[in-house]
């Protein structure tokens, strides 16, 4: 049985509760144990970096200190957290000025930092540590006929990812094939959802998401599947507004990749947070 430290990130306790529920259920089902990092703090996301680059590294890497102590790989499902942690580690490695300041801070607080924590994303973990063949064997409810637009977004694959291509990744595509689903040719798979722009500069944010939804529909997808809380929130919550603004009629369910895995494994919908969706995907799985 494999064990990991788990970094939920702030969204997992709020808007992305369904992501957390499905990650935990699927990992347990696959025999992978997640230990939530004791008293973890926010990764800083993008906003902390708007204010102060040094503090951003200090903030994110406190979590790396905690993970080092435990000695297990650190699994971070949210793309912004995944990137925030990787970025902090990179800065600690390659920027002497930042490293020295942050290390002084850790010393004052009695923490140790060696830079040994390994940061991983659950998508990569299930593919590399479990393997697609094994995953196929676990499928009890083949997702036959389900057409998925795989949406990777930005921060999982850029700029530090080394497990997939930064512009045309395929790991999720392969995963969905292993679950028996179809994957559409989705040209926007790594096009930006705008992040917080839907809230801050709405016109621009909505346009970016309109493009993503439009292309998914054109590709013939029944649903869009993502790896990131903010991408899911943008694509799902603003569909009504986008429809009004652009005279469209989107009603596309948006799911986390772990929810799709759970459905193929026959895990109860409730344990995957399916009922938390604003645009229900239930009809897609009525036959599953």
């Amino acid at each position: 049985m494999r064990e990991y430290s788990y970094y939920p990130g702030c969204s997992a306790k709020g808007l992305a509760k369904a992501y957390e529920a499905s990650v935990l259920s699927v990992f347990q089902y696959l025999g992978l144990t997640l230990h939530e990092l004791e008293d973890w703090n926010c990764c800083g996301a993008t906003f902390f970096n708007d204010i102060d680059g040094y503090l951003a590294v200090g903030l994110a890497s406190r979590n790396l200190c905690l993970a080092e102590k435990r000695g297990l790989d650190l699994v971070a499902p949210c793309s912004a957290c995944f990137l925030g942690l990787l970025k902090a580690k990179d800065k600690m490695e390659n920027n002497t000025e930042i490293r020295e300041r942050v290390l002084k801070g850790f010393e004052a607080a009695g923490l140790k930092y060696n830079g040994t924590a390994k940061i991983r994303h659950p998508l990569e973990v299930v593919i590399n540590d479990v393997g697609l063949d094994k995953i196929s064997e676990h499928v009890t409810h083949k997702l036959e006929g389900l057409r998925i637009a795989p949406y990777y977004g930005c921060q999982l694959v850029r700029p530090y990812s080394d497990f997939d291509d930064p512009m045309y990744p395929v790991s999720m595509d392969r995963l969905f094939h292993a679950l028996g689903a179809e994957v559409t040719d989705y040209g926007c798979k790594t096009r930006c959802c705008g992040g917080a722009l839907t809230g801050t500069v709405e016109d621009v944010g909505l346009r970016l998401n309109y493009i993503l939804l439009h292309e998914a529909q054109r590709s013939g997808a029944d649903c869009i599947v993502t790896v990131c809380p903010l991408c899911l929130f943008n694509l799902e919550s603003y569909q009504k507004k986008i429809n009004k603004l652009y005279g469209a009629s989107f009603n596309i369910p948006i799911l986390y990749f772990t929810q799709v895995m759970g459905l193929a494994f026959g895990i109860a919908h409730k344990k995957l947070g399916i009922e938390k969706a604003i645009i229900s995907p239930e009809h897609l799985f009525a036959t599953v």
Binding site: D39, N41, C42, D50, R101, C154
Partner: protein, 192 residues
């Protein structure tokens, strides 16, 4: 017809600003920018920007301080890292956008009530004091300070999220706030 000079003379540029940005770890390579425009071409929001990423890089390294720090470009950058991955000279454009945002906030170079820096500041305050962010409060505080009308337009969505338990009134916080303060205060002290 009247002709107006749009371009600055060298003597009007801010040399200190140019020096500052090109001596940052992310900025050293700026001098190697060949102005190819790959960054702008790959940027999903460049069509909305007042200056494209290529122009920002070119202008910042020359010392067009006011133009760069007053631009909407830096606030529209969504940190998607397309430009960084594609730049043939390996210039860390996204990181430079962050540096510019930080400086603009430090020196008060942004339109009053403009939502991006308001939200960034609220987020910073919240995480600095609680160790975690709580989405419901972040949105509430940000829009009260920048754009209260937006809150009204979000009520029906907010209710749906509340009903499904995706937003709530509980404020997230960590237990080791003291430890976190020690770390961050020490880093700040070093900085000043």
């Amino acid at each position: 017809m009247e002709f107006k000079r749009e371009i600055k003379y060298e003597s009007e540029l801010d040399k200190d600003f140019a020096h500052w940005i090109t001596s940052l770890p992310a900025g050293e390579k700026m001098k190697e920018c060949i102005q190819c425009g790959t960054c702008s071409g790959s940027c999903p929001v460049s069509v909305y920007m007042d200056y494209t990423p290529r122009e920002i890089i070119g202008m910042a390294r020359m010392g067009f301080k006011d133009e760069v720090l007053k631009s909407y470009t830096i606030w529209l950058c969504a940190s998607c890292y397309n430009c960084t991955v594609y730049c043939p000279m390996k210039i860390k454009i996204t990181d430079l956008m962050y540096e510019l945002k930080q400086r603009a906030i430090r020196e008060g170079y942004y339109p009053k009530r403009f939502t991006v820096p308001v939200m960034a500041k609220e987020f910073f305050k919240m995480v600095r004091s609680a160790g975690r962010s709580t989405e419901s409060y972040l949105l509430l505080k940000t829009f009260l300070k920048s754009n209260p009308m937006k809150l009204l337009s979000m009520t029906s969505l907010g209710l749906k999220l509340f009903k499904s338990g995706r937003i709530g009134l509980k404020k997230e916080k960590i237990r080791s706030q003291k430890e976190l303060n020690t770390i961050l205060d020490s880093i700040l002290q070093e900085e000043s």
